[in-house]
Symmetry: C2
Subunit: 379 residues, 2 copies
Amino acid sequence: MDERVREHAEVLVDWSARVEAGDDVVVSVAEDAHELGVAVARALGERGANVTTLYGSSEVSRGYLKGVEAGTDDAVDADDFDSDPAVDRAIFEAADGYLRIGGGRNTTATADVDGDTRRAYATARKGVREARMDTNWVSTVHPTRSLAQQAGMAYEEYQEFVYDAVLRDWESLAEEMAQMKEILDDGEEVRIVTERDGAPDTDVQMSIAGRTAVNSAASVAYDSHNLPSGEVFTAPHDTAGEVFFDVPMTIDATRVRNVHLVFEDGEVVDFAAEAGEDALANVLNTDPGARRLGELGVGMNRGIDRFTDSILFDEKMGDTVHLAVGRAYDACLPDGESGNESAVHVDMISDVSADSRMEVDGEVVQRNGTFRWEDGFER
Amino acid sequence: MDERVREHAEVLVDWSARVEAGDDVVVSVAEDAHELGVAVARALGERGANVTTLYGSSEVSRGYLKGVEAGTDDAVDADDFDSDPAVDRAIFEAADGYLRIGGGRNTTATADVDGDTRRAYATARKGVREARMDTNWVSTVHPTRSLAQQAGMAYEEYQEFVYDAVLRDWESLAEEMAQMKEILDDGEEVRIVTERDGAPDTDVQMSIAGRTAVNSAASVAYDSHNLPSGEVFTAPHDTAGEVFFDVPMTIDATRVRNVHLVFEDGEVVDFAAEAGEDALANVLNTDPGARRLGELGVGMNRGIDRFTDSILFDEKMGDTVHLAVGRAYDACLPDGESGNESAVHVDMISDVSADSRMEVDGEVVQRNGTFRWEDGFER
């Protein structure tokens, strides 16, 4: 076995999920993530944990959803799914940890599933999703040829890209990110401005009063659930203005480019996309919370050196900020407050490496991608 | 998708598992069983069932067990495993049905796991196994290159072999098998005699008084849990005599050939094998029940025309009888009686196509493979 696969498994189990002897850990293994699944099972056995392995196959999901479509007379709605499926609920209520290892054979495997069906399924599965998020969950990927293709990279090149992002000195990155967390924790209002051809194309402001930022250092000990990570994020509210997202992405197997959102009184009141506008509309129409922001994130992982059309990596890249419509993470909210609720959480990214600034309470904290504690920062 | 895969899925879901709308069905998909997993998910979606998909990978199991070995100072024993793993227990307590789709990439994937470790794991997992067997469970395989290799066949040839065995007229086979069930239900004592070179090499008798035979027609409606099936089996007791099993098999990834067992007072008191005797010893030493019989089965599926080193097929083949050491199936036992208990259930097969007879209460019911209701039967 490639030594990097073994190291990836150990970072995932020890640093990220903080697995201890006796823990019940559920591992979801995607179609081509077998090697990492084996290495993770071995690490869990060594730690004295119990392992249950799910098969996280997009083609199996598509098969199931197409079957539901075939078995339903009209368009599929949430009532066509069981909102309290006994086994899935039982799994996540009993689990201490959940390790999701992505890495399928085709990132567009569910492209021909109807938008109504997807939305209905996401709505019906809200309870299961919430039970899953109450565990020590971590999402990672095993590098596959399919993901390399989505990234536009050769397979070995992509493997190096993934391990450069994953096998890092997480403690030292966590220390650097603590500075941004402090700024956001103390701040009340964030404004982001970017320009294109000399005119503003993003000028948006949002409140972060009363919210707590997460220093997302790829470990549940930091309320961070992605490996790799390397972002600081919070849960904004009362958003107003316009945002242009110039980093391409894939939503529900559809390529989406150049999204433009207009916010008034905290809600998206107008939207457009140069490609994939229907997929975007499906997201925004899921439920009322899908039109409000659930996240503002600042990418700080400079080990990620390019966009690969994968949100797991893209949103962590240095020189980017991202906003997500939909569900807010509990970790950002005061105790007992629910924040924005939604069945979806979809991140969208802006490149801020040039012609940009982020202000917190009127003070510039990042300009053209450089943070205020870094060399070369222009106030 | 190969139309035969879709048909296999439909036989599995409808005839075998009798899935109904609203059922919670757990599907275990082996490493190379993806295609059938997709087809089964689609069929379950059409029927309105919930689906949870497990990854049934032998390499993941090996990884876990090797990890436990590495994390344990001395030899692994049952105390090194959690005998009540919360997630696995919750899954099978909540499930209505369990569909196990075999078909890995290497049938000897766990060959280097220590025998003590295997035995300890089997012992610790008894509770989970029993919860699983309380569901509507069915075990089948997707034809893979690995299984073709084990069978000594080309891949396409093996696919045809599997679908010939699986895609049958199960109702009509069930009617024929009902005759054998009636004989065993009414009988009190079974004697099996085979000769080799003119001298008896098997001469064994056992009581079946008070036991109920299962007409194993590949459906939970018949208390039958294998697809394909095509055998009639019961739970014998008080076995005495000698048995020679001339059909090769694989136990715990070890090839085992020409097993000889000697029974006294219901227990194995002596054993030998020309190959794989250690693997056989591991089985027999699992627990006291592993030395008593749990099953007598009569193969009646004449659609299976050769041995393929897979118990799922071999034990169903016409012209064979088999005995299993270990656990008895509840369906064969009077209500409230537990029968033989064990953490294992290992079948061993004798070819009875020539020089053989099976007697029930002194009357010959099968001679040289021909049943008494068939043309050419010699009383």
